[in-house]
Symmetry: C2
Subunit: 561 residues, 2 copies
């Protein structure tokens, strides 16, 4: 049947699980009427199902290439990108002052999930542009905003993030790209960047690079990094793309997946750029951009998982081996666990988006902290689920899943990057147990309070499920306290299982809400999550408390064997 | 550094963990003196490290191709295969009466792991030949044995398994390939087979197909299947390859991985074959072959995991991001968990091999049941660990893991098939909770008794670890009893988590033995397993008891979303 955007499932979560009505009730989002929300989700469903999804196999079979220094994207991408741009999807949540639609981030995140499920390689292009828009809105001068934002919002131009260098991956502070003040308000940027997604594009009229670089005599490490906007074509007096800047794509990577999305080695050779924000304060601006991009990446995982599961279910219905294989208990188990995890990851991501909107447009003082706390969980769990479900998709299809023609393998290959970029999932875990618990666990504990209240409220209707959620929240509360008491090394050694455990509690909580408001299917799915996924929770809590000593008792020789 | 065969680790397990001395002490294996064992493992280590491993990237970059109906294997494969054949490795465990070396299967399994870690695509060729040798030894007539076995053992000829047809994958009974008695002692085979690994080869002088087919008026299903040996070139009076048989490779698959191993669509058009075993008893012969191949596939998972982990450790030592990343707690955690799981999977596989040898060469009446019980666990857990560790290998290397040039992605792509072929891991679970518990759980409970005794014996030296293992074995015992009391649907719905739980208990048991006999590193590794992997055990037991009702409350529409 092919990918069908999960519009109804998203709407159910918005309506019944993550309190989207609180967002829609804010003055800042007065435009987000029920009719508008309905129209946006329906239209995004149509665009992704009918226009983008048919290109997904092509993105793998006819990769975007570099020919004589020029990017030639997968046939069909140009038309589909035009449909995305002309539909106003790039600037959906952006500031209306500069051509955005000013709608809630929640809707944008939901649309991003659908686009990712339809065609991840293509979706990456607008996703990165959105990150750039956000960074410029918050940190750029009026002139830069007036020049760039309308063109980015309209999809006329696109945006990239240039962070990584060969010696500076997760350790951004180690970067060496130089910037020199040209004295005319501009800077000259020189250096090499790697792993630059859509570092060039034939989909838009210009490509704008946000580049992290170091000024002369800047402090070492992350406190000496500045952010610049460096367009491929220098805007002329009318703001139209003019002469070429001194930058180029040196090569593109041969990757496991997302073959439609070119991953570029970029060379800047005295390229002209303009400062965004203040000198040496580039990391703060970059983090604005990355934090929301992290949620977007989490939803990429959810989107690909959705597409992979739909395909697997279709196969399991059609494939007969002593009856349709969907009636084999172990196949049904795999599909049901996948569906239960997708629901959980989607709800976590949308709850995070709701918190972002409440922080942006409302007067809820706790919303920003909640958004910050949920972001690494949404990123890591969403992308973990992406890999797990894509893997299940292959397994359900057996030998047919292993041959490339079905596309099941492509889902696995494509989604694998989402656990790495925008901060590896390990870095998300370190963020969670470090910065995001640095409020003495207040945001975490408040969230657990709310989960406990939800469990209490469900007690009479769904006692078993409610008790399970209550117990999980209580043990999570103890784990938070214990984590806060730990020394840094032990805490770090428990970061990933701690994140996994928290995701499990959140997932169970949202499943319980769905079960309270839904029908028999939602209740059964919630029980599947509670009986088959949530039990991992206590295993994770055990691992979270296991400490660092035994890990560091194993040196490289012992680990290599 | 590249792959280095884990000879020392294997020897440690043979000496201290799985009681290989009992095998070496049997009269049937009198040749397996300590010096011989040492020489064999060392020489296999050299062959795999120096000859096979350097070909692994080539197997991906220069796949084996089909040119005008002829297979052209990856450059270098021919020479390496010759080294394997001339070294006597194909017939290592085969009957000396027909040119085999008659050594324990345990050694063969250990060598198979090393070969898989070095180059999985190439290792598949001798692995399948070994399966054919085993089937012919047990079921073929004297004439067939005399003709084929010496040539297969020497690697002069190679062997394949032809089971799958488009409509008959896991449901072998649905196959349609026909066989007709030609009246001269031979049969005419007609039909199409798919997913035939190394269905043709330019590495050996002849390719012998074991083909499942149906005689006229044969009973339906698996009770009407017969097994035939169908050589590519018909042997002449001297047993030399003569005229071409009526069979051919129609096409080869474009797969996610193992690009050096051609996966063929085979067409048999009245091809000449000879019956192996009795008419309509082909499934029994096939199971002989598959059971041992399943263990071999489990060890493929272990082998690839070993190679992937070695590479990841090397990267983590060299890669500096605020210090070598191996000193980052979450990286160390990933590597340590991978090492702990590899040890567990290897020990389970070698314990299974020891049981096979004790059954073959000894008078231990329980050994056959133990081997049968451990086989699906060794297959499923070994290959699960293969995928998990290859995935960790990518994650540790971040963006460099996602680009193909490092080879990390290849490990993931290659090993993914091992969870599917020779019976998917779901089918292994169904085998475990069905046939392998059909002795009222006797084999399972006896194994748990032994684990309990091991824990008791370790009580004074390593009380914490010993208690953990004891508790896990006790809860596993309860799960076995509960499983036996369940109805078929609930049991099936719990099969995979039951298998995972049993693997965890076994892994912890072998880790405890290693900790008792090893040094600080073995003790630390055992604690990592106990604290970070084994806790999943109780989660699995919960899932194993969750029943089928909720799964089947979710129909295809609910699962597709």
């Amino acid at each position: 049947m092919g990918y069908r955007a999960p519009v109804d499932q998203i709407r159910f979560i918005l309506d019944h699980v993550v309190d989207f009505r609180r967002v829609a009730g804010l003055k800042a989002f007065a435009d987000a009427t029920p009719d508008t929300v309905e129209a946006i989700l329906t239209e995004a469903g149509r665009l992704t199902t009918e226009v983008m999804a048919p290109l997904n196999r092509a993105s793998d079979l006819n990769p975007t290439r570099l020919e004589n220094g020029v990017i030639r994207s997968t046939p069909g991408f140009a038309e589909a990108f035009r449909a995305i741009a002309d539909g106003g999807w790039v600037g959906l949540a952006a500031n209306p002052e500069y051509g955005g639609s000013g709608l809630p981030q929640t809707l944008n995140v939901a649309v991003g999930e659908m686009m990712s499920g339809a065609c991840l390689s293509l979706q990456l292009n607008p996703l990165l542009t959105q990150g750039q828009i956000e960074a410029l809105e918050h940190h750029a001068s009026d002139e830069i905003r007036a020049l760039y934002l309308p063109r980015l919002n309209s999809g006329e131009w696109s945006g990239t993030m240039n962070l990584t260098e060969p010696q500076a991956g997760s350790d951004v502070g180690a970067l060496r790209t130089r910037a020199e003040n040209a004295g005319d308000g501009s800077y000259r940027i020189t250096g090499q960047k790697i792993f630059i997604t859509w570092g060039d594009s034939d989909l838009s009229g210009n490509v704008c690079h946000l580049v992290l670089a170091r000024l002369p005599d800047a402090p070492q490490g992350t406190r000496g990094i500045s952010l610049f906007i460096v367009p491929k074509l220098l805007p002329d007096d009318q703001g139209n793309p003019g002469v070429a800047n001194s930058l180029k794509v040196v090569s593109i990577e041969h990757k496991l997946g997302i073959h439609g999305s070119p991953t570029c080695v970029m060379s800047f050779d005295g390229a002209t750029g303009w400062l965004v924000g203040q000198e040496n304060k580039g990391m703060a601006a970059m983090f604005t951009m990355m934090n929301n991009a992290r949620l977007g990446v989490g939803m990429q995982g959810v989107g690909v998982a959705e597409a992979a599961l739909q395909q697997a279910v279709d196969y399991a219905v059609d494939r007969v081996q002593t009856g349709p294989i969907i009636d084999h208990a172990d196949v049904r188990r795999m599909l049901a666990e996948a569906r239960a995890e997708i629901f959980a990851a989607r709800a976590i991501g949308l709850a995070c988006a709701v918190a972002i909107d409440l922080a942006r447009g409302g007067d809820d003082p706790e919303a920003a902290a909640r958004a910050a706390f949920l972001t690494p969980i949404a990123k890591a769990y969403g992308t973990d689920v992406g890999s797990r479900v894509a893997d299940i998709g292959i397994q359900v299809q057996g030998g047919m899943g292993y041959v490339e023609e079905t596309g099941a393998a492509q889902f696995l290959r494509d989604v694998r990057i989402t656990r790495i970029y925008e901060g590896t999932n390990g870095i998300q875990a370190m963020d969670l147990i470090g910065r995001k618990l640095s409020d003495d666990g207040e945001a975490a504990l408040r969230l657990l309070d709310e989960i406990g209240e939800g469990a209490k409220a469900a007690q009479s209707d769904l006692p078993e499920l409610a008790n399970t959620v209550w117990d999980a929240a209580e043990s999570m509360r103890e784990a938070v306290q214990a984590m806060l008491a730990d020394d840094a090394a032990d805490r770090a050694a428990g970061g990933t299982p701690f994140l996994n455990a928290f995701a499990g509690v959140l997932g169970a909580h949202y499943h319980l809400r769905a079960a309270m408001h839904g029908g028999a299917a939602e209740k059964a799915l919630a029980r599947v999550f509670a009986a088959r996924i949530l039990p991992l929770h206590s295993a994770y809590l055990g691992a979270a408390r296991a400490g660092a000593a035994d890990l560091f008792a194993l040196d490289a020789a012992a680990l290599r064997g």
